[in-house]
Point group: C2
Chain length 199, copies 2
């Protein structure tokens, strides 16, 4: 073995020992609360990636979409035939399309009923509350209601919250928080959103 | 309409005008290069979310996994039956499991041949180079080869690169870059990776 190979092997052994230690220290097993926030691309996309993953094992999954209801959505089409997936969509689209506080609040409260039911169902392994952060920001939903429903969920159930500016209380109670930061975005360079990639 | 409702409507109209302007300014339509990097959760997951999305429209997709070959993977199971999806996996697992520079380089070069073929195929709408950043970092692949293959790809093809510490040249040529930042991670609090959620 050359010197370079030996150095590489030692570095990799050290890295492996570090990872092995961390794996050994992780001894709890329960449902997780994950928050995907920040202004960059990938929040909803990562949530759908996790949905695909959970469905791959045959788990039941519920997705509640609080904002993107009027958009085409390839993921939904691709997975729609899966009997283990339930998707609820808020009846109005983006709030700046409707611009009516009262009807948006009513639509939000209606779809929240689906979320609350899913969050109480021990048969549901994963619940995605997609773009719910905006509902809290606009005051269409109150944080106490959401926090309580998440806290009281079945212990084996995982929850993913997505959206910019996640509420401080959600960040605090979360197990895992990733902030997707917008380093650059094609849209800002004049490139159109692309079918099958962006939506 | 109350004062509060009017204020809300004005704010939403302003937001809508801003979004409409940006949509009007975006007039290019072509394949994108997206980079999901950073040390947080969601890079590979967002890539698989996009794969699901593209398959949902019936597009052909190629995924090349440079590192996670020995792990279970719910997404792959869920989507494996899709005739439009091709997945290539590097023969060795994590490099700190194998700890042999020579065999890892050979395995990497072998799976890169699949990547190069996919990147040259105009029938493939999306190519995912999952965790390729580590191959560049360890020197198993060289940046010029990768940059050239991405630059020469068919104009309608999109590419997603995932992994920590994405190479400066990949960041520069990318259309969209999201950095997933690890705000907190369940694993660090002693919670085990969860089937169907983390893997």
């Amino acid at each position: 073995m050359t010197d370079r190979q030996q150095r590489h092997q030692r570095a990799m052994q050290k890295l492996k020992a570090h990872v092995d230690d961390k794996v050994a220290a992780a001894d709890q097993q329960r449902g997780l609360l994950l928050v995907f926030t920040g202004n960059g691309k990938g929040k909803t996309t990562a949530a759908w990636g996790t949905v695909t993953r959970a469905l791959g094992y045959g788990y039941r999954v519920g997705v509640v979409q609080f904002i993107k209801g009027l958009w085409e959505c390839g993921e939904r089409e691709r997975l729609a035939a899966d009997a283990n997936l339930e998707v609820s969509i808020m009846a109005t689209g983006f709030t700046w399309e409707t611009q009516n506080r009262e009807s948006d609040t009513a639509a939000c409260q209606a779809v929240w009923q689906d979320a609350a039911r899913l969050l109480a169902d021990p048969e549901v392994y994963l619940v995605v509350l997609d773009e719910i952060t905006y509902m809290l920001k606009f005051g269409y939903l109150d944080i106490d209601t959401v926090r309580q429903a998440i806290a009281d969920r079945p212990p084996e159930q995982s929850v993913i919250v997505t959206g910019r500016n996640a509420h401080r209380e959600l960040i605090e109670m979360a197990d895992t928080v990733s902030e997707m930061q917008d380093v650059k975005h094609a849209f800002d360079a004049g490139i159109q959103a692309r079918r099958g990639i962006d939506y």
